[in-house]
Subunit: 338 residues, 2 copies
């Protein structure tokens, strides 16, 4: 595997490939892997070797029928064709099979006590307005007003100023702004920057549970699998600053009926929060009515270096456990051929 | 796995799922499989169990990064969006990774001496004209004329009459009719029915090698992998008749420069044919010029029953070798829970 073709060999000419004739159920995987792992990029070759092996093993272990294969072709085609600038059905597919959570866990492991990550989901946009601290990010008069008082610090508890915080949630009907055909401007989303004390606060509405878009191929699959399509009430956050590991996470409101059955497997205990009510003093301080819902949370962020070290260590340990002889190249495993 | 939910449980209600909170790299697969294998359809549950396991194992064994995952999301989306009524990029993807050949080998195993199968490819259409035996299926004046004299028989050598034969090939420039934007009518394709002696013959052109459509995501992937995108010169056939196993196959012209490196891994030795030249007698008999290229071939077809028995036997043997405790349901493996 992964032998580097001579640079004097013209690219794409037939002789660079070992002969592939008379392939059988038993030898086809080795031959396809040989043909597909000569790019000279050790990481790409390793990804292809693992991909072809798993796809073929799946077909062999299920004795996949032509009819089932064709159903899969149609499903993937429809999934791609459901995607648009405001809808990403393949991310949704990845989410409902737990792949998105798994990849986040692998790529962004958290040191103890740091805020856990969760799924990005398909509704983040890049056009949210940058609002000053204390702003309202809601235009939904039907939503239940909620004040959010948050801080962000590093793993030693030091406040982090100047962190870019991306915040978004569904409206009171359980839809994101991008799900409306007539969307004129961003709503129920904003970007803020933490202050010198690591603080940021904003006005929003109480998150509600909602179904993921279930009128497409992924929704039909969930129905076939007799799985519900709901996410428990939640609010999304992304934290970014030079030197920090980018944190994509979600806070969940405790007590939601879907809290233990999130369709995208995103719930972690330390991301589930209790809502409080604003007292008289806080009401006066932040200019909201007494009794308003209050979300308080402290986010604890790992540095890029902490995450990188943890990821590298986890990777080498896991490769060892799996019995795979690999080394890290740019922090990602490739076969160790020495 | 595969426990059937009580029929009195309302569908899609949260309690039908085991709780999923605090999933980690190590427990997420078991939890997602549990949630995704309660459809009550044992085959679907088994497919999902194997699919989730392989997809997750791929991510764990490669320590898939968020950036790589996102590249895969984009790739799949582009592949879906490249599909149209006349182009199937996902079939092409399956073809270039040998999955199409593997599935055909599993689902349509051939008894000894029967004609082997090969890939369907993305260019079959359902609008080919039904032509009488002896017709020409070409409108390509630039192609080198070729006479094809074929017979079809069963595995005991008995001629098979009334077999529907679907035939298609690329034109002399290496393009199928559907690849032309202005396609008015089918060309270089037809459907014939074998006569009482199992014979069918037609006029066509010499097949040429050509690249698969490489201006899309699959073509870009092949380029990254430093694989050429060519198929050796060939002609496609599908044979269908009640009681016979549907045969999807291809004849390859010996001596092509891509004969041992077909980009879709479709070449089998007993599908590679030598072209002859028409002699004086044959020329007179079939109304072509002496010296015209001649393709002669005898196709030997398995019965539906022969294929089914062989498939079942292969499946049970393979499951045994893999150590999977399965039984066959409608000729497809499902877990044997007894």
């Amino acid at each position: 595997m992964a032998s580097t073709p001579s640079v004097t060999t013209p690219l794409l000419s037939p002789p660079t490939q070992p002969p592939v004739v008379d392939l059988t159920i038993d030898n086809i995987t080795r031959k396809v892997v040989q043909a597909s792992s000569q790019s000279g990029d050790a990481r790409l070759d390793y990804l292809m070797e693992r991909l072809v092996t798993h796809v073929h093993d799946f077909a062999r272990e299920t004795r996949l029928s032509t009819r089932e294969w064709m159903a899969a072709i149609h499903f993937l085609t429809q999934t791609g064709q459901m995607c648009s600038p405001v809808r990403q059905e393949f991310i949704l597919l990845s989410d409902v099979f737990g792949l998105s959570m798994l990849v986040d866990s692998i790529d962004h492991p958290k040191p103890p006590d740091c805020t856990q990550g969760s799924v990005l989901g398909p509704f983040h946009t890049n056009d949210a307005p940058h609002l000053p601290i204390g702003s309202s990010m809601t235009t939904d008069a039907a939503g239940e007003p909620m004040l959010a008082l948050c801080t962000v610090c590093d793993s030693s508890g030091r406040p982090l100023s100047g962190v870019k915080v991306d915040i978004w949630e569904a409206d009171s009907s359980g839809h994101y702004d991008v799900q409306y055909a007539g969307r004129q401007a961003p709503s129920e989303r904003c970007v803020m920057t933490s202050d010198v004390d690591g603080g940021f606060w904003f006005k929003a509405i109480r998150p509600v549970s909602y179904p993921v878009p279930d009128d497409g191929p992924v929704g039909r699959l969930l129905e076939l699998l007799k799985r519900h399509s709901h996410r428990p009430a939640h609010m999304h956050f992304i934290f970014e600053k030079q030197g920090l590991d980018r944190l994509v996470t979600t806070l969940f409101i405790r007590g939601d009926q879907y809290e233990t059955s999130d369709v995208v497997f995103g719930v972690k205990s330390n991301l589930v929060v209790d809502l409080e009510r604003v007292d008289e003093k806080t009401a006066a301080e932040y200019g909201v009515l007494e009794g308003t819902l209050l979300l308080r949370h402290k986010f604890i962020l790992a540095s890029a270096r902490e995450t990188e070290e943890l990821r590298d260590r986890n990777a080498m340990e896991a490769m060892g456990r799996l019995g795979l002889k690999t080394k890290l190249m740019d922090h990602l495993p490739v076969p160790d051929l020495d």
